[in-house]
Subunit: 309 residues, 2 copies
């Protein structure tokens, strides 16, 4: 049976749970899941859905820090666990409803997923994963005066960064495979997974946020997927990403590698790297980067950038 | 294969994730999971672990309300989803480590669980489920001046209450059964489940906190369990609960029913009701209420109160 990993990212989707109360944002999840349902209804493929949590885990961090004096604070790794719950719930319900609306008898389940990292990963010394809201320079100064954290400057403003170690394995891989084999769409590795390290035969939570595209690559490898589709808020990988010029429709991993130095860090670059790593990890694999709102077309190879070996 | 539902409750365990950072509290989860591992290592039973979230979901409510002006607020039903993630992670890791330490090759997985409620349940008009911290009378007044919510007076102080509708079905029941059949210990229905109602063929989140003992009863019925064990911070059901006198070792559901009016609301009463409902729902069923720290003895029928038909 063909296996597909669909990675949902970008603010497009992620606001869905972050501002859940506004119906406009639940609708983003509903729209994306309508695409998945339509694709799944016509395909026999086993489908895993992964998602990012940059916005939400940043919100949780702020909530915990602002109320530290009044409410017991949770460590960052458990905040990832929280967002797997909240975003997983929004996506699962949206997908179940999308199936029901179309009379498609398919089940969905969300598996809490821990992802193994190396406690000595150099990423712990150099926080690089942007989380939470964008700040103006002035706002940032006032936030920094109270909360001490690392940050980066992005196009939309300044943003906090946290360590983002490389994912090395999926703890619950057997459970995920088992559910897929029963025909369920599985939501897994949300937010890149809950980071854990191994120490003398035991797991231990690690405070970090794993890149969800890289985690999706590791998951796709582990289940033996033939397709990895990374959905975001751009239509294509562009040769000139800043100006959205020179849309790439197909590209080999080798060619993509030559482009890497020119791609934007933290946005499009890790997605291209995840696709490259995936297609180079085995034969007859294909990966896509495309727009969330075109999800079905991307999965059918009609839209987005196709990266192959 | 015999099936067992183990419901973990009481502050004893629940603080484990609430103040995760303090190693003393992670240890509570580790101790409880050591009992489960020892029992599971000697038994062929399929085991589901459920847990409460009274403390944690109350903490999340406070965090969201205190920071409402700065961070987008999440609705209560998604806060339940968050606690399934954080508590589920703490329990799963503790149980995996307990198995590894004992050389027991058993897998664990945590399934995000939605529980169906009736949108017209009278519970929505009469909030009754205590969540979050205990307040002194003075503290309560200052909290109430800002946050308007219902509360009850318990032995340890005043406590906020939220609606707690009756659980009517487990959405992910097939996935849970599937994982059990593969020999995995399944952590499910955390915090009583994420409450959803059905409306014109679609699920919709509902702001409430379902009683985890009643949800455990519904889950135990749905998987065809023969044993329901509810673990808490008392050794027995007592005839005189207030003064912990007249420990009951065995009691029939009929006898228990006669005691109900004299049992404390919100603490021991729903546990006895859940046990009664379970044993009366089928033949050859047995239920236990006992101390979390005696989990293995309770599961083996050597400690706690046994309720049978």
């Amino acid at each position: 049976m063909e296996k597909i990993v669909v990675a949902l990212g970008g603010n497009a989707l992620l606001n869905a749970a972050g501002k859940q109360r506004e119906s406009s944002e639940i609708k983003t999840a509903e729209k994306a899941m309508a695409h998945v349902a339509e694709f799944a209804g016509r395909s026999n493929a086993q489908i895993v859905i992964t998602h990012g949590n940059g916005t939400q885990v940043g919100d949780e961090l702020l909530r915990n820090e602002f109320t530290e004096a009044k409410v017991p604070k949770l460590p960052l790794y458990l905040l990832n666990a929280e967002t797997q719950g909240s975003i997983g719930s929004v996506l699962e319900i949206a997908l179940r409803n999308a199936f029901a609306k179309r009379g498609i008898e398919k089940e969905v389940c969300t598996v809490l997923t821990h992802v193994i990292v190396d406690g000595k990963d150099t990423a712990f010394r150099k926080p690089a994963k942007p989380v939470g809201p964008f700040y103006s320079k002035e706002k940032l100064d006032s936030v920094l005066s109270k909360e001490r954290f690392s940050y980066v400057k992005e196009k939309k403003g300044y943003r906090r960064v946290v360590p983002s170690p490389f994912p090395r394995g999926i703890v619950e891989i057997d459970a995920i495979k088992n559910e897929l084999a029963r025909g369920r769409v599985v939501i897994a590795a949300g937010g890149g997974g809950i980071p854990v390290m191994r120490k003398s035969n035991a797991y231990k939570g690690v405070d970090a946020v794993i890149d969800k595209d890289l985690a999706s690559m590791v998951l796709a490898n582990a289940i033996g997927a033939k397709t990895l589709a990374i959905l975001t808020d751009v239509d294509f990988v562009y040769r000139d990403y800043k100006n959205r010029k020179g849309a790439i429709k197909t590209i080999t991993a080798k060619e993509a590698k030559r482009m890497l130095p020119y791609l934007e860090e933290g946005t499009i670059k890790p997605k291209v790297e995840a696709c490259m790593g995936f297609v180079e990890g085995g034969e007859n694999r294909v990966s896509y980067i495309g727009n969330l709102s075109m999800l079905k077309d991307v999965l059918e190879g009609k839209a987005g950038t196709k990266i192959y070996k």
